[in-house]
Amino acid sequence: MRGASAVQEILTARPELAVRVFVVWEPVIPTDVAPPTSKTLARFHDRRARQYWDRDRALSADVVRSILAAPDRYGLRDQVDADTIVWDTVAVFPAGARWENEFPVPSFYGFPVVQSSQGLAAALQPPGTAMLAIDGPLRLEATSWGRWKPSS
């Protein structure tokens, strides 16, 4: 949940940013037995956000399907398999990117979100704009997609 707060802080600091935020809540751990409550939804109070409850993890499955069909397109060969669940993950798509048959390639993605907030903030900077008030080194490189596998 610290990741959600970190992203909201970035959005709060950038009210002028033309960005649309899609927040997808999905059950991953055993306590995820119901959709998020108002308290959880309030973590993203930005008006640019839209929130979804994905009980069957349909989006995660579609992302994994796209990656497995063309792993090199996403730079994720051998990092994702059919059991992968994409979660605690952030992905940024630039203006103009469209989702046609396959999931679009993000310009930035990171996992877990709380450790990707600096990279997210940098990814949201307009090209050629200096980054202000950043703590520590920039993390622009992609990290692995969020994954969780049930123990067999």
Partner: protein, 73 residues
């Protein structure tokens, strides 16, 4: 007498645990699920509505888009 006391304590503890678990489940089941002001209501996403989600993503193609996937607990 002592055995009866132990049984009563154990039964009370079990009752307390069951009541707490029941209240927790009821809260999860019936708690309000309202999005903050200015946002659309929480939408269900599944295989049938994935196309609608994709359309919403593409409809905002003139903007940068951020996609986040989280567990609610």
């Amino acid at each position: 007498m002592r055995l009866r006391k132990v049984v009563l304590i154990v039964a009370g503890a079990l009752l307390f645990v069951a009541a707490t678990a029941g209240a927790g489940l009821a809260w999860l089941r019936y708690a309000p699920r309202r999005t903050p002001p200015g946002q659309p209501a929480l939408s269900r996403l599944d295989a049938a509505t994935l196309g609608t989600f994709r359309d919403a993503f593409n409809d905002a193609a003139e903007e940068t888009r951020v996609l986040l996937l989280f567990s609610p607990t």
